[in-house]
Amino acid sequence: MSAWSVTEPSARSKGIAAVLVILYTVITLLPLVWIIATGFKTGPDSISYPPKVIFQPSLEGYVNLFTDRTRATPEQLAAMPPPENFVDEIVQRRGEVITQPSKFGARFLNSVIIGFGSTFLSIFLGTLAAYAFSRFRVPLKDDLLFFILSTRMMPPIAVAIPIFLMFRQLGLSDTHLGMILLYTGVNISLAVWLLKGFIDEIPREYEEAALIDGYTRLQAFRKVVLPQAATGIASTAIFCLIFAWNEYAFAFLLTSGTAQTAPPFIPTIFGVGGKDWPAVAAGATLFLLPVMIFTILLRKHLLRGITFGAVRK
């Protein structure tokens, strides 16, 4: 674009725009920075007035997050060996003893298993269905796609009632398999919709050439279509993963122990006499940080994916 272009904004208008956008960015990131900072505060520092911006960082929140503790009697404390590591030191300094590891690790692992399990299944089934919708004449195709999308208008709680009853009947309540199937069922409509768009963009001529070369349909699908759709598949996978990772309503209503994921668990972290905010913040940080890093690293595919549906239809 030449320097004389009439559509290029002037340097001044660019400057003003940049300042305003930076201002908004700082304000909007403040709560997130605060979560991360609170995770490294001690209990008293986290609830001081005015809010502490500069503080002595501490791992107390993280220690509390991963352990269950009780108050120790003076005799117990006196009998205790000198602290061997920083965990013992933090706990002993407050006159407490660790009774057992907390449930956070298991809940986090559940999030990982259910998140990746349902993403894999959504993508596997979704890619097959999207290919069929894109390339073959499937009866009622248009109605089906519309129907798939309209199921998303149902409030999750409304679906949760019969699912709750169904899972109870089938013995799927509070199981990993149940949650994986459920999240796949919720995700697959969007996955098929997005993937069909990506596969539509691959010219049919490629496959036709492969068929002429003697490939079967399945071979052509595997060796020609899949590699071409890899980017689309990857960005759809990220969406499915983020949905399953963040989902709360179903997890809250349908899981209570074995298969409970982190989102319903983190708000239930309490300390002695109230919310243990540093521990909550530590849990939130560990849970949110992977998504933040993911978003920044994969921004090109993600941002395109969000607007994809809007731009296409």
Binding site: A18, L20, L128, A132, I161, G185, R217
Partner: protein
């Protein structure tokens, strides 16, 4: 008809019958590929929906599975529609919907418009702005209750810092008048980036030559904005409003963590009310009818809206 080399090759190769012998027919592949997805959708989406409809005509209670289930006809529906508390819930939902949509559209569009000045580093800033909407609403909502704490909360402190109103003199989540706004603020913080991204896609879809032509015609910037930019972004903006509207109508996770519907029932959105009826009072039949009413409402409103949207697109 053009006779391309591909056409000639196609005729020279064995017919589809020969291919069928070596592998599955296209028809068979289509069915094999689509069936698992259809089955899953039937199991997770359609079957539950039918079951909900059936339950909505009964007095079934999920915590008493052995009790006798009676067919009660339309009684659940008439009870819901004549209950004054329902209208209070609808009012809370309408307040939440109206203000979140308004703020998100105004702020989201303005941000997109500013970012579209294409200053250096706009990519990175866009990514950072998008962060809140990628995160778990329940976990973030839970933390917002900490920000809203009177005295020690960052939000209250910021209000004191800028306006001089003492931080401990008001409680965003505890006050009947402020609580509805506390959920609007948190939701706006979280979802404005979504509206922004869609507006940005709209702005970027406007070709430069249109503005060049307008410059040649000596149209003022102001006029260009209202007669070209706004009408061309409008379909995108309307779509963003549709998505956000549907999502916020069924809003549960963020608000249940922030206020749980309280104080009183000032922030009792429809989904939270539904959860209370279904999973705390265990009135399964009644709440199924409620769910159906909500679904029909969203579906009806969305259909009318989509018609309007298509009219705007055609212009």
């Amino acid at each position: 008809m053009a006779d391309t080399p591909i056409d000639r090759l196609a005729r020279a190769t064995p017919s589809s019958l020969a291919r069928r012998v070596r592998g599955l027919s296209d028809r068979a592949i289509a069915w094999v590929f689509v069936t698992p997805t259809i089955l899953l959708l039937l199991a997770i989406n359609i079957f539950p929906l039918i079951w909900t409809v059936r339950l909505s005509f009964t007095n079934f209670a999920a915590n008493k599975p052995n009790a006798e289930v009676k067919w009660v006809g339309l009684r659940n529906y008439t009870r819901i529609l004549t209950d004054p508390d329902i209208w209070q819930t609808m009012q809370a939902t309408a307040h939440f919907l109206f203000w979140t949509l308004l703020f998100q559209v105004v702020i989201g569009f303005s941000l997109a418009w500013l970012i579209n000045r294409k200053f250096r580093g706009n990519d990175l800033l866009t990514t950072l702005i998008v962060l809140p909407m990628m995160l778990s609403p329940a976990v973030v909502g839970n933390f917002w209750t900490f920000l809203y704490e009177p005295q020690i909360g960052l939000f209250n402190y910021a209000v004191e810092f800028f306006t001089g109103i003492p931080a401990s003199s008001f409680s965003m989540l505890g006050s009947v008048t402020l609580a509805p706004w506390s959920i609007v603020i948190a939701d706006t913080w979280m979802w404005t980036p979504f509206v922004m991204l869609i507006c940005l896609a709209g702005l970027r879809s406007i070709p430069d030559y249109i503005y060049e032509a307008a410059e040649v015609d000596r149209a003022s910037k102001w006029r260009q904005f209202w007669t070209m930019t706004v009408p061309m972004v409008l379909p995108f903006l309307m779509l963003a409003v549709l998505f956000r509207g549907i999502e916020n109508f069924k809003m549960f996770d963020l608000v249940v963590q922030l206020t749980g519907g309280g104080p009183g029932s000032t922030t009792l959105l429809t989904s939270i009310e539904l959860k209370r009826e279904a999973f705390e009072k265990w009135r399964t039949g009644y709440s199924s009818a409620y769910a159906i009413i909500l679904f029909v409402t969203v579906f009806g409103l969305a259909s009318i809206y989509v018609k309007a949207l298509n009219k705007v697109k055609e212009r």
